[in-house]
Symmetry: C2
Subunit: 394 residues, 2 copies
């Protein structure tokens, strides 16, 4: 007797590759000790939260015996939290959002789900430059949508022609994740303006809103001080998705947001819909402790320099091993080219040297692999010989 | 240009009634002072969390500067939290769940959504005894399912004939919420065994699993010490949905669970699916602070006696006013009969006397109204004359 849907059954069958990697990692760490395993497979921020988070937590704890200390919040989030987020958007990208333009969500993932539930009709398509974060496909699929990956250029910049060619009457949105997971790419103003022009033309042609989802959980991880343009200022149909998982090392508490471009006509309708879908998907409200932490700590962040030094150390390790890569400008990933056409062969060679990486096909890009530098600089430096030996072995 | 789907647009149009009540309440409180308004419209637990919660919060806060203090948790929840939940299920309903049979979720609402995402094919039907919590309809609808309300008996007990008649080849589940929102009804073992027999026959006939969703966030609110049977022990296709929103007054932190009946054949497949859907719906993991609170406080609860005294006070107020009602055995609601056929007329009369109640049609039962006793006993007692005047006025 079928306990689950056919669709979910297929999903379960396909997730075995990542699970195998995860289990191999546990096994290796048990055998060789965690410090002798170079686990670049997980994007789980390993820096402790900034000290302000502890101070804020102690304050929250002090009031946690009060009536309504953990009471329901408005579905759109607390007024104080939404006001803090408006200040953050102003500071980070000079965006003039009112608190009413912002919904506090259960992380960025919860925000994207609430958005898709509000705007996707069955059969709608969501364009996504590839390589890409595979979860996007699940998020669109939850509501009958389909993700349509379109290849980027060799340097992972946006290929405007590919995007234009992918648009159909069913296109509802494009996801732009910058700085990008898995490539670390930051999109330039010129690229974004070109995308906006293409979308505006398509909107007129098809008489339908086409959104940009500006998924920006890595915005603060900008190593070279280049401009990360505000997409919401370039294109009125933009929703900004943000999160504190990386900037405050809070991924497990699940707090993020959706901000609607203040230029969007009739935005109140979309905001009303997002408040409703945030409720009916069962999030109800973003976790109250997370919201209170953001109220106090929205302007804090972990030390960017630590991640920058790790990036530079990883670049040296890869260069010394003769591995080809595009230097990531942001986020905490490298997405190098595999020296073997089938990257799983090289992944296996790395595994033999106690290095854990994720195959590029997990991001829609066979022939590449992803390394997350959420590990200590020493661990990165120590991995140098392992990379060299893996290169020699294949 | 359509910013949102037609379906969501319709939802927004229909939510105006509850919003009107909410806004009227704010206005009345501003005008007369909160203590002179009798707001029985909201199920927001007003008891402070038990003292153990504060102690646990202080401990969590003390460690909140550590690496991974707020790190990602496993999608199914922390091992410690799942073990605590297994102990709770054993203690509360003598159910022998292993920790592997339990998924920690973003509240009960998140749990039901994860379950529906895993099991509902488009067009599937979910039976629900009526009156019922309207959010269930949204939860099923999110994944292409339809809620099929079936009337209960006059005393709100289950009408087995109605349930049997509602079953079709498309039936996938029935939701049993006991103690019930909005009626306070607790279903007896005999009723539940009769439902189980009907479902087992239908399963054989249609060759398809039909689940019982035992939605039990009010289980500890049992005023008269009657048995609240363990549905998971009566019927193998049961998933228990639980929450700490009421027992620990934690509704805003969003932590609950799904437990699969240990008797279910091939349960690992369902549990794998729930772990996946909990991830891809964007919950990722139940909020980490909430999980840690449950690890410490699963065996604590707010003082039941306070709610019991309120129930008794409310029963006296209604009796003295000549309003007909079934005495609730659990939860924190009364669902009295309106003295007017259209209950909105009486709701308006109550509003004039500064009493806020919710129309029964919001629960699929016109001619009734709901009163939530999440307010002080004094506030309940003070409302007596208002109820009498409203009765005299209609």
């Amino acid at each position: 007797m079928n306990l689950i849907t056919e669709e979910v059954k297929n999903f379960l069958g396909n997730s075995s590759m990542i699970r195998r990697m995860f289990e191999a990692g546990i096994e290796l760490k048990k055998q060789y000790g965690a410090e002798n395993v170079y686990d670049f497979s997980l994007g789980n921020p390993d820096l402790p939260p900034p000290p302000e988070v502890k101070t804020a937590m102690e304050e929250i704890a002090g009031k946690s015996g009060d009536m309504f200390a953990f009471g329901y919040m408005p579905n759109a989030g607390s007024v104080d939290c939404r006001e803090a987020l408006a200040k953050l958007l102003k500071k980070e990208q000079d965006l003039n959002c009112a608190k009413e333009d912002i919904i506090v969500t259960c992380g960025a993932a919860g925000g994207i789900n609430a958005f898709f539930r509000a705007v996707l009709e069955r059969g709608d398509e969501v364009i996504c430059p590839s390589p890409y974060f595979v979860e996007y496909g699940f998020y669109a699929g939850n509501y009958g949508g389909t993700l349509k990956p379109v290849p980027t250029n060799e340097d992972f910049s946006l290929n405007i022609g590919n995007i234009e060619a992918a648009i159909t009457p069913a296109t509802r949105a494009i996801i732009l994740n910058s700085p990008n997971n898995p490539t670390g790419k930051i999109y330039s103003k010129a690229e974004l303006e070109a995308v906006a022009a293409v979308l505006k033309a398509a909107r007129s042609k098809y008489g339908r809103m086409i959104y940009i989802i500006a998924d920006e959980p890595y915005r603060f991880l900008n190593f070279d001080g280049v401009e990360i343009p505000s997409i919401a200022k370039i294109y009125d149909g933009t929703v900004v998705i943000g999160s504190f998982s990386k900037s405050l090392s809070l991924p497990g508490e699940r707090v993020g947001y959706i901000a609607v471009s203040p230029q969007l006509e009739n935005k109140a309708e979309l905001l009303g819909a997002l408040t409703l879908t945030n409720r009916i998907l069962g999030f109800v409200n973003a976790p109250v402790v997370g919201q209170k932490l953001i109220e106090s700590c929205w302007d804090c962040q972990v030390d960017l320099n630590i991640y920058r030094r790790r990036r530079d150390a990883m670049a040296k390790v890869l260069t010394d091993a003769g591995i080809e890569f595009i230097m990531p400008g942001g986020a905490f990933y490298f997405f190098p080219k595999s020296p073997t056409a089938d990257e799983r062969i090289f992944i296996d060679a790395l595994l033999k040297e106690r290095v854990l990486a994720v195959p590029g096909r997990g991001f829609g890009a066979p022939g590449y692999f992803r390394l997350a530098f959420c590990v200590s600089e020493k661990n990165i430096t120590d991995s140098a010989e392992s990379f060299k030996r893996a290169m020699a072995a294949i």
